[in-house]
Each structure stands twice: as C-alpha cells, then as structure tokens.
Subunit: 200 residues, 2 copies
DNA sequence: GGACATGGAAACCGATCGGTTTCCACCGGG
DNA sequence: CCCGGTGGAAACCGATCGGTTTCCATGTCC
C-alpha cells in the first residue's frame, strides 16, 4: 500500500513545503522567481514539483489558494465573538494596519498577483479574484447586519479602502497609523451604521 | 554639425518613439516585456536603444518619467479655471472614473510599476514614488485651500481612495460608477470641507 | 561627390529559465 | 532480504532574454 505520508523530519510533505515556500517567495519576489530558487527554498526537487503540478503557474495558483484559509482566519473576526457588526467590520482594518506595520509588508498578495499577471484568465488570477470577492462578501453581509443604508455600496467602499491602504502601505508610500480604521469608520458613519450596542 | 533632429517621417525621434512604445508596453504587459518586443513596437533597433539608455530598466524609468506631465495635465484640473477647491479635488476622481471606464484600463501605472518591481530602490520605483508623492501634494494643498480640518490627513485619505479605486478597477474587481467620487465627497464632508461658493 | 554621423536589421553571445530526465539513496511491507 | 515506490541531486535541453556587435542603407554638410 502506498503510505499516506506523515510529517517528514524536514517539515511536512514535499507538497506542503513547496506551497509554503512558494507563497512566501512569490510574495517577496514576484511571479518571476525561478523554479530552481523555489525548489531550493522548499527543499524539494524540480522532479517532485513537476510531478505534483503541471507548471510553475499551477504552483503559484495552488500556493495562493492554500494560503487563503489562514489569512482569512487571521483577518476576519472570530465568528463566536460577541462583537457587534460595526466592530466586526472595523476589526478587519485593524488587522490590516497591524500587518502593514511589519516593515517588509508588501501589500495584499492577491492584489499583487493580479497586478503582476495582468491576465485575468490566468489560473492564479482567478484564485486571487475569488479570494477578494470573498472579502467583499464578508463586508456586504456585515454591512447588512450593521444596518447600512446600502450594504452593497458600503462593501465596495470598504474594499477600496482595504486595497488602497494595503497597496500604499505595501509600496512604502504610507504607514497607515490609524488611517485605514479612520476611513472605514467615516464611511460606516456616512452609511448610517450606528455604534454597536453594549456587548451582551 | 550634428543636426538637432527634426520629426522623422516614421514619427518623432527614435528616443521619443522608444519611450512612447515603452510606456504603452510596460503598462500593458508589465516589466517583463522583452527588449526585442519593445524595439519592434517602437520601430527602433536594439542598437539605438542601448546607445540611448544603459539598460531596460533605465528605459522603463525614463518612460514613466516622460509620461507624467501628460497624465498630470489630464488628471489635475486646469489651474486657470474658476473652480473652487472642493470641486478641484473631486475633479481628479472624476478623471479617474473616466479612465477606469476604458475596458482595458489596468490601474495606475506608477502603482503597477512599484508593485511589480517590489524593490523601492529601483530607478523606476523612485520615479513612480515621486509621481505619486506629487499627487498627494496636490491633494494636500487643495485640502488646505478647501478648509479641511487636517489637510495632511485628508490628502492621505484621498490618496488611499485614488489608489484603491484605481487598483480595483484595474484588476477588474470593480467598475467604479461614481464610487470614487462618492467616497471622496464623503471624506471631504467628514473633514469639514464646505461646498464651494458660487463661481465668481 | 565624398566624408561622416545616424540608425535600422539582424547575427551573435553568455546567462538564465521552464521543464524533463537520469540516477541513486532511502523507505516500509512481504 | 529483497522490492517497489518516493523523492532529492543534478545533468540536461531548447527557448528566450538582456545586451553587444557587425553591416549597410540612408541621410546631411562641405
């Protein structure tokens, strides 16, 4: 029987190591990273890489996809929390500012991927677009719960703030101390979102 | 005497043709365009290209720099106009939305350059950063004239909206019908910028 | 008309890249 | 103890890329 593969000493399975390294390297260096560098960083041979994936692009897409749950879990407020919808929305922008404080922050990886690839039909672009859509969906449902006049509009506005702030911080044009949260709060106010009631 | 070079039949001087084509191609295809493609598009030999510039990167930087005056002239309100400062600020976001309506709009070229290069010290990144700074400067001085409570803060906020809206439109995640202008207006209101008086 | 500078076409060069293949070391199951 | 599957190291291949060079077809100035 082909053993189902347990955690090898050098880390997880080659696939995991590869995708982790890919996520990091693509983010840091861009789509242009040579496959050799990728494999070296992952401690994986090109042989293994190409029998796990069809192309470098496929690795890129898979790495983006794999990273999403973790990023989402960190970015979005935990669902079991007793926070009100307004605070839940602002929570995301606090996380964004926290991430942007990191000196080597390079902006949202999904934005970067789509900007670098330019081709929307690219496998990785599709994955990235889906990830971004999920964030807007979160914004919209929370905006609805929060009593926004036009939840769809507010969600789009928040997405613009999120991507704008993330991008500007990523290119070093801005350090965001409170900027993203302030802007989000201003837009929430203008959309008629009231303060959350006291935590129950 | 070395003739000072007049408009050749095939277009302007080789340098001009090269920079025009470079601006267009780098924007459309990204930093990865082969020099051959660049030269072919410009109708210029690599020989000429490399005796005009030191490297492809230098061409990139020069193309970005050369494009700026035209873009600025189109993006910013004409100075001789009798518009009030609030309208002058909103004018920029109307131009942005107009540009984003173009189906092949790919976002702000300076943002794209910095995102793709990632290296802030890159020649082209420096040019791009300077261009972006000039826009924020415009925002700040107009915000001051407009009576904003904190012109510096408002300018940073407007920059976030500008880059966020431009980027999202560029990656096809948003079509911006009125979104950018609305957001800018909301932020102007929150910053205490009054409506312009009647045109004198 | 002849000397000279300009500039395109294209061959060329070394390096690199995406992807394939070969070889071998190591593993668990019989 | 052998056997088949896994997977790393590394050679390898064709294509491409950034950059250089050679060659020649134009000019323009004297």
């Amino acid at each position: 029987m082909t053993t189902k593969k347990a955690a090898a000493p050098g880390g997880a399975t080659p696939r995991d190591r590869l995708l982790d390294a890919a996520g990091e390297l693509f983010y840091r260096e861009g789509v242009g990273v040579p496959t050799d560098a990728l494999c070296k960083a992952a401690g994986v041979s090109k042989r293994s890489m190409y029998q796990l994936f069809d192309s470098k692009d496929a690795v890129f897409a898979a790495a983006l996809e794999r990273g999403e749950p973790a990023l989402t879990a960190w970015l979005l407020p935990p669902p079991e929390e007793e926070r009100g919808p307004r605070e839940r929305l602002l929570y995301v922008f606090e996380r964004l500012e926290e991430a942007a404080r990191e000196p080597d922050y390079l902006g949202c990886p999904y934005v970067a991927a789509q900007v670098e690839l330019k081709e929307p039909s690219h496998v990785a672009s599709v994955v990235a677009a889906r990830a971004k859509r999920r964030l807007v969906d979160f914004f919209r449902t929370e905006a609805g719960r929060a009593g926004a006049a036009d939840p769809g509009l507010l969600a789009r506005q928040l997405a613009v703030v999120y991507d704008g702030a993330g991008t500007r911080a990523g290119i070093g044009a801005e350090d965001l101390r409170g900027l993203a949260v302030t802007m989000a709060a201003t837009l929430l106010d203008a959309a008629g979102v009231p303060d959350d009631g006291p935590p129950r």
